[in-house]
Structure formats: C-alpha cells, structure tokens
Symmetry: C2
Subunit: 233 residues, 2 copies
DNA sequence: AAAGATAATATGCATGCACATATTAACGTG
DNA sequence: CACGTTAATATGTGCATGCATATTATCTTT
C-alpha cells in the first residue's frame, strides 16, 4: 500500500521510513532484501539500493552483506553540525567582525600536546592567542598551536590581517579531526579578555586536525557568555 | 597522473580530493565535467558521479545543474556527532547506569515553549524531571516536556523503569529536530541535584524533536561537571 | 565431533544507456 | 534595446545487467 506514488529513490526512502516509523518493521527486525523490494515497488534494484544506502547512512538501518538489512535497534541520533569560520559566523549575525592578535610566539610543544604532536618533540610550534570581536565586543578567545613541520609556510604569516582560523582552512585542508565541547568557568585571565566576571560559565570547543597522519593544529576556542551552538537533525 | 590506480568510486574520490588539497583545482575554480573526468579515468560517468556526489555531500565541492561543479570557496567544516542514549553512553564508560524520576506532572504548556507547541495551547503536557546516574554519581539532569497530543501513549507510562529518553527513541521516532549546546552556571537547585557547588560551569544540551509537523518533546539535559562531548570529523 | 574447505546468498559496485530537470547562453521579435 | 522564447548543456536519476565481496550455511575430511 505504498501511498508514495513516485518510484524515485527518495519516494522509496519515504515509504521505507514510514514502515519503520509505523512499526510495520519492528526495531531489530530484518527487512525484505533488495530484490524483493524492487519487485514490490516495481523499480530496479539499484533504486532500492540507493534508498537503503541513504537510510543506512543516517543510521536507521544496519546493512551487512549476506546477512541482509535490519532496522536499527537503537537508532543512533546523529546530528551534523557545521562549524563555520568565525568571521562568517559573526557576519551571519549581521555584525562586523574583526580580530586582534594578542600573542605570537615560538614555543616547545606543550606537555598537553605531547601525545598528539609526538613526532616533533624537540621542535618548536607556533603559538597564537587571538581575540575575535563581533561589533567590537569580544566574541571568542582562541588559543592555537600550529605544527611547523606540517605547515612551514605559517612561519611567514603574521596572522594580523587574516586570522589563522581562516588561513589554515584555505591553505592547510585537513583530512581528519577530533572535536570536543565543554563548559568551563572563566578564570581571571579569560574573564578579563572576554569582558565578563570570573566564574562565568563559558562554552569551549577544542579541535585537533590532521592531514593524513601529520597533525596540523590544535585550537581551543572559548566563547563569550551566552554562546549557543546550534544544529539540526 | 592519477596515482590511485583503482577505478573504484572511492579511488576516484581520493584522486579528486588530492587535486583539491594540492590546489590543482583552486578554491572557487570550476572542475571538468563528469563526462570528461570519466574519460580521463577510463570509467563510466556514473562512477565519477558517485565520487562527486560524495564530495558534494561533505561540502567540499558545490554542484549545480548546467553550471557545473566547482571547488567550495569556504569548505564548511562539518562534523557529525552521535548523541547516544544516556544509558548507553554511561555503560560505554564501564559504569553502571540507573536513573531516578524526581517529578512527573501534567502542566500547561510553559511560556518558553509556546512558539513550539503552538497547536496545543489549552492542553496539558507531561513534565518529567529525571536524574541519570553513573556508578551512583549524578551524571546528567534532565527536564522534559512531552506533547501528549502527539504521543498520547506516554500518559500510561510511569518512566520509572525505562527512562523517557529511551522509551521515546524506541516508540516515537522523530523525523526532525533542533539541537543546541551551551554552558551555564549551576544555580542552587541544579548544584544540589548534581552534587556540585553553585556557580560551577555545566554543559547543557537542548533538543526539540518533531515527527512531521507535530512536536514530540523538548528536553534540556544538564551534565555533571567535567562533561565533554566528543566528535570526529 | 571438531575443523577446514566450499557453496550459496545478500549487499556493494561498475557499466552503458536513456531521459529528466535546472540553468545558462543564444536568439529573435516587438 | 529590452524582454521573453528557445536551445544547449551539465548534473540528477532510473534501469538492466554483470561481477565482486563479505558472510553464513553446508558439506567434507580427519
């Protein structure tokens, strides 16, 4: 009883979704195999495959060769969040962006990053402290370590006009990254920098990116009070 | 000079990625169209299409009919984060999970949610306050509103044995949701509940889910101090 | 009966082809 | 010359088919 009259792959996806939502196929249950579904919908197996692949990507069904396709028992709730370049994020709010470089230094790899920047223990890394503004009010405070082994060109850059954030995105694309989000209390320093009272709860994001096996950079972003990170599912 | 000898769609994707990373095709530049690439790689256009579609999905290239495919100017940084069921998250840490229902009441729609639960203004919603534990230590504090118009079966559930979190995932799958993350200072109440000192920075997640146009539930989760949400890119 | 080889099967992927659709460029007409 | 119409084009999608590959079931062999 497919109400979705189309036999487009999206149409078939909708119908499959409906059957999962309406528990025609219970969680954990095996669903008919591609060939059968193709026959039922009167379409090619390729088309059913496309629909099923899409559902598998979103985690709603689990597919294994030979074993078949089954409805996921605990549909993992996946959300894709887009982490914009800070300038764009600020400008999207209709505010004017600027940033100021608070510090730029060459340092030995800090202990915290020994595990990550393992290869270059003796060498220096570039350390940057940047403050991002929205309409002249502090928006986010950035602390960054750049691996000069991987991105030697960074040595030549001052990062005063275009931020490291932006420059790296355009010049050192990464293939892999770890992200983490947390909440922390503002200490004296960050409170002063972000213009808030010490102790205020702040939203923080940490990110390490690699290209292949070579670490590129470690960033810690601490946002001004009231920051919300949004996403759709 | 395709080093990737395979002509699988993943192989082609790798080669295209390489060209983008190595700036053979600069950001914003148009790349050859599918037919040409297919000829170059000696494969079917469909295969190139698959590779390009994948790159477009991750936001690295922008595709438009007739206009062609071009390298994204500002490759948006997308991260997919999986939001697990709290019980599973706790058990994955090797700790024992339990939860306790602190409050269960029928309430009129709170003003905060008027915009969301618009249809059911006069009606009541189910309000739940739950505390999640990991090894008998508070892990997260949950405040939830359930729309009884959408999920009337929730009226019969006590949510003492299985949490609302879990029950809803299995019984009211959603099609759409809004997520937001923020940091907040513990007030007297949450400090007492989560066993920390008032003022501590806490990580909070808010989520509203819909099935079609009907709102299902609104949840606010406040995690115990030290919580980190992790993700890979 | 346990262990290893082998066959069966469901999904994964590649191909060649045809047509749909969105978008841009070219054209023609008032 | 402005503006609407038409044609050209690149991507999007569907189909039929064949082979690849992972995994399970079955059948040997010791």
């Amino acid at each position: 009883m497919a109400l979705t009259d189309t036999n487009s792959w999206t149409g078939i996806r909708e119908e499959l979704l409906r059957r999962i939502h309406d528990r025609v196929w219970e969680p954990g249950a095996q669903i008919p195999h591609e060939a059968d579904l193709a026959e039922e919908f009167g379409c090619a197996r390729t088309t059913v495959n496309r629909a099923l692949r899409d559902l598998a990507e979103s985690g709603l069904v689990i597919r294994k060769r030979r074993a078949g396709t089954r409805v996921a028992l605990n549909p993992p709730q996946r959300a894709t969040l887009t982490i914009p370049i800070i300038r764009e994020e600020v400008e999207a709010l209709g505010k004017t962006y600027r940033h100021s470089l608070l510090e730029r230094a060459y340092q030995p790899v800090p202990p915290m990053l020994h595990g990550v920047f393992h290869a270059s223990l003796g060498d220096d890394v570039l350390y940057l402290k940047t403050l991002h503004f929205a309409d002249d009010r502090p928006y986010a405070f950035e602390e960054r370590y750049i691996n000069l082994d991987t991105v030697p060109e960074a040595r030549q850059r001052k990062f005063e006009v275009s931020s490291a954030n932006e420059w790296l995105v355009h010049n050192a694309p990464y293939s892999r990254g770890d992200l983490s989000f947390s909440a922390l209390n503002a200490n004296e320093d960050t409170a002063r920098i972000l213009d808030c009272t010490p102790g205020t709860a702040l939203f923080a994001m940490e990110r390490i990116t690699w290209t292949g096996d070579a670490p590129i950079t470690h960033v810690k972003l601490i946002f001004a009070p009231g920051y919300r990170m949004r996403s759709r599912i």
